[in-house]
């Protein structure tokens, strides 16, 4: 147990190593740091957004070992050993992922701030259910809030991506 013992005050850190979009990351973090702050701050992967900070809006959604999670409710050290995919890991520089293409063509975004989380949630849905019905779409995206689109464009995007 001494191996992971940290003293109070935050001066000491805990080591965490994980794969971020396929790239091996190893660094020391404060045990109070949230995953979202590690990703956006230290690692400067700002595609993952922060909005409510209490897990209710989904803007900070990422995939941890293939499962959708809100990174504001994850502590950074809890990524230990995990494979993490963020929005940056969905496409390379030139090609966009088919889900992203659908969001582009069907107006699945406006201000774009909820979009990374929304796209991750859509990916999580379509990975397990390539042809979701209305109920499945609503269930899968119910943890992601969007203030701009009214969800019309998002629903059309997911439907478009699912038929591809």
């Amino acid at each position: 147990m001494e191996a992971n013992h940290q003293t109070a005050g935050g001066t000491e850190t805990v080591s965490v190593s994980f794969l971020l979009n396929g790239e091996h990351i190893q660094l020391n973090v404060s045990p109070v740091m949230r995953a979202v702050d590690l990703i956006r701050g230290e690692l400067d992967q700002t595609g993952t957004k922060i909005s409510c900070g209490i897990g209710r809006c989904g803007a900070c959604s990422i995939l941890v070992n293939g499962k959708l999670a809100v990174s504001c409710l994850l502590l950074a050290y809890q990524l230990e050993g995990a494979s993490v995919i963020t929005i940056e890991g969905l496409s390379d520089q030139d090609e966009v992922h088919p889900i992203q293409k659908a969001f582009l063509e069907e107006g699945g975004f406006q201000c774009g701030y909820c979009t990374p989380g929304m796209v991750m949630a859509a990916k999580c849905l379509l990975d397990s259910n390539p042809e979701p019905d209305r109920q499945a779409i609503q269930e899968a995206l119910s943890g992601n809030l969007c203030r701009c689109t009214g969800y019309g464009g998002i629903i059309r995007s997911v439907q478009c991506a699912s038929s591809k």
Partner: protein, 751 residues
């Protein structure tokens, strides 16, 4: 038709777009703002010594550290940047800190000791207007009064067959932009300051900051775009002054990004209003008299409170021609946060009341409500609501006809299979003014350049908050010039690089882009062709602009790059004002848009819950510039209004926020909205119309609440007069009236 992908699309869907709150600079510090724990108190002392001593803290500032004017406000700078002796709401700033980390800055705030003497809290306009109430500002507790009178109201009431009087209450709505306020303020080596913080009017921020910092405006550069949503909420200054003061005091870049709780506490909200309307109709179904009193809770500071009240007063009679109108409005200071700019700008509140009146009046005289609207609706040549000449269109009737067709189709299907549920259909219409109105400085402008690299740069002082102004600029520019989107580059949202275009508010962006291009294109194209003629030795008349460059006989003769090379850039600028009525009536609008909304709801009689199953919106706003953008504005506006109608309310108790985050302030999720939203654009304008496409940023939010309210009446007979409509209210009403009676044989609890 090929789908037009927004210019900012790829960066957004890939997460590569850097929002201003995503920026980081070397040596960057983090700022935090200490806000008042009291809604109203006297500050006795402020001690910052302990905070300053905390390792990692680099600056602690109070009112003493404001070099210029310690106040902000777009029109009246009555809100202290840092309060000195009085705090007037729980978001009032008292001190700010810059430190090495957010954690240290947060800890430092806890070490600032402020002694307060609490003062009586004015938590309603009624309390603020009581005799002997403490005065929140030197001129008292009335921010603004506005009114409009025409005709002889008493004699018109005397002619009425039915008079309906009702008081409507509408809530404090949160913009709930997904990106909370923030950005980075960077002190530059030459002593100037760059402010990377989202706003809806970079030049106005620059003006206000210069006044606060005691710096010349030219020394401040405001980069104000992109933003993760605004909806009016980032029009006023928010964290900019604190970031700027801390950056100047430390000489380092300072980042502030408010948490959601900090945002809700400090940000402006939609004005709660109490609206009493007394409206009379004669036996033929003609509206004769319309008397309205509006009481707006404007909170602690002015911002655009007066203009919002003026707008509400103007829109009180909506698209109807009524011989006698008597409207009185008052906007009252309280200790309830700050109310201000919000998509719809006072129109939403009065339209909810007005369209509630219309349905009640139709029922009162036993007339079909569509027919009654048709009978009273304004026609093409009618004057505007304040008696001013307006741009003539048949928009009101167009949207009424369009909505009426949907209504006629949907209304009969209002039977529900489930015995415990009732379906209802309702409609509402509205008209909404664009621009700031007569007598308000409302300048616009733009610039078109052929740059040395061969790009045609189109630039405006607008901001991209998600509404799609970039797509609008791209579409209008390429269509007007005849070039391809690859030929142009768009420059917005940076005061050092763009011309002043006025604010990105009031549904004016689209309109002003189109008007600018009308002014810019002829001289610009002329200059291009003249130069091209000289370069190619061809007569100007044989040349034209096309994709990629200058064309002759169906072939591209000269690329824009060739045209630009080795010569000075061609630059054409324009400055003009948003079109206003020729009639000098203060605050009156000239360009209006119109909407007709049909909503269908399903009400669960056992729980009182309301589910909006269909939402159809018909719009008249001139030609559609960008189909996807238009659709998105209307659908998104509709759902924002659905939230306003059914769930959204920033609840305050004794001047304190009860709803502090998105778990208690509820905005619609994907399960709360109709799966298929319907939008129909009626694009036609009179042949002589000179004003082109109108903006549609606000119109989609205006008439949704009354349409849903009227649908609820259709379903269960409840006359809604208060938003949001709570299931409890529905239940109480249906139980009192025995709506369930008859279906009540409870072997089935119903599902």
């Amino acid at each position: 038709m090929a789908k037009k992908i927004r210019p900012d699309g790829k960066e957004k869907v890939t997460g590569r777009l850097k929002y201003l709150t995503d920026l980081a600079f070397s040596n960057m510090l983090y700022g935090k703002i200490l806000r008042s724990p009291y809604p109203h108190a006297r500050i006795l002392s402020i001690s910052t010594d302990k905070a300053r001593q905390l390792p990692g803290v680099q600056a602690v500032i109070t009112h003493k550290d404001v070099p210029g004017l310690n106040g902000f406000g777009i029109v009246t700078p009555d809100q202290p940047v840092l309060c000195k002796d009085i705090v007037r709401y729980v978001g009032d700033a008292v001190a700010a800190v810059a430190a090495d980390s957010v954690e240290t800055a947060t800890r430092a705030l806890e070490l600032i000791h402020v002694q307060y003497a609490p003062l009586p809290v004015l938590d309603s306009p009624e309390k603020a207007l009581e005799e002997g109430a403490p005065l929140l500002h030197p001129n008292g507790n009335v921010l603004h009064r506005a009114g409009f009178q025409k005709g002889d109201i008493e004699s018109e009431f005397a002619k009425c067959a039915a008079i309906v009087e009702e008081t409507y209450h509408v809530p404090r709505q949160l913009h709930a932009y997904m990106e909370t306020e923030g950005g980075v303020i960077v002190p530059e080596k030459d002593g100037s300051l760059t402010v990377y913080v989202g706003t809806q009017h970079g030049f106005k921020d620059r003006f206000q900051l210069a006044r606060i910092l005691g710096m010349p405006e030219e020394h401040i550069r405001v980069v104000s775009s992109p933003m993760g949503g605004s909806f009016g909420g980032k029009d006023e200054l928010n964290i900019q002054p604190y970031g700027a003061l801390l950056a100047l005091s430390t000489g380092k870049p300072v980042k502030i990004h408010q948490t959601r709780q900090e945002s809700i506490r400090s940000s402006i909200k939609r004005h709660p209003m109490k609206i009493t309307m007394k409206t009379g109709i004669d036996q033929d179904g003609r509206l004769r008299a319309h008397q309205t009193t509006i009481v707006a809770d404007t909170g602690a500071y002015a911002t655009l409170g007066p203009a919002i009240l003026d707008f509400a007063v103007e829109h009180t009679s909506g698209p109807y021609m009524i011989p006698a109108v008597d409207t009185k409005g008052i906007s009252v200071f309280t200790n309830n946060g700050v109310s201000g700019e919000f998509r719809g700008f006072g129109g939403n509140q009065v339209t909810f009341a007005l369209e509630g009146q219309i349905d009640r009046l139709a029922a009162a005289i036993g007339m079909d409500s569509v027919e009654m609207r048709r009978l009273n609706i304004r026609r093409e040549h009618d004057l505007g609501p304040l008696g001013q000449q307006i741009a003539e269109t048949n928009g009101a009737l167009d949207v009424l006809q369009s909505a009426a067709a949907v209504y006629a189709e949907k209304k009969p299907s209002s039977q529900n299979q489930d015995r415990w549920k009732r379906t209802g259909t309702g409609m509402a219409i509205t008209m909404h003014g664009g621009g700031l109105g007569f007598g308000r400085m409302d300048p616009a402008g733009g610039r078109l350049s052929l740059k040395e690299d061969g790009k045609i740069e189109i630039s405006f002082g607008f901001e991209e908050a998600g509404q799609g102004i970039l797509a609008v600029i791209e579409t209008i520019t390429t269509e007007q010039l005849g070039c391809a989107k690859e030929d142009i580059s768009i420059m917005i949202g940076d005061t050092s690089l763009v011309p002043s275009s006025g604010s990105t508010t009031a549904s004016r962006g689209t309109s002003m882009v189109w008007h600018s291009l009308q002014r810019l294109k002829k001289p610009f194209l002329q200059k291009l062709l003249t130069r091209a003629a000289r370069k190619t030795g061809t007569k100007e008349g044989q040349l034209s602009i096309g994709p990629g460059g200058i064309w002759e006989n169906g072939e591209c003769r000269l690329s824009f790059r060739e045209l630009a090379s080795e010569q000075a850039p061609i630059v054409i600028s324009t400055q003009f004002d948003f079109p206003v009525s020729p009639d000098p009536i203060d605050s009156a609008h000239f360009l209006y848009t119109y909407s007709g909304v049909v909503a269908q709801v399903e009400v669960d009689l056992l729980t009182g819950r309301i589910n909006v199953t269909e939402l159809h919106q018909s719009l008249s706003a001139g030609p559609v510039v960008n189909e996807m953008g238009y659709l998105g504005q209307i659908e998104g506006g509709g759902v924002m209004a659905l939230g306003y109608t059914l769930m959204e309310d920033v609840i305050m108790a004794d001047g304190h926020y009860v709803t502090e985050n998105l778990d208690s302030y509820l905005i619609p999720g994907i399960k709360d909205v109709p799966f298929n939203l319907q939008v129909k654009a009626v694009e036609s304008l009179p042949a002589e119309d000179d004003y082109g496409p109108r903006g549609v940023g606000e119109i989609g939010t205006i008439a949704v609440a009354p349409a849903i309210a009227n649908a609820i009446y259709d379903a269960v007979g409840l006359r809604v007069s208060q938003l949001p409509v709570k299931p409890e209210t529905v239940l109480k009403s249906t139980e009192e009236r025995g709506v369930l009676h008859g279906s009540q044989s409870s072997n089935s609890g119903g599902n």
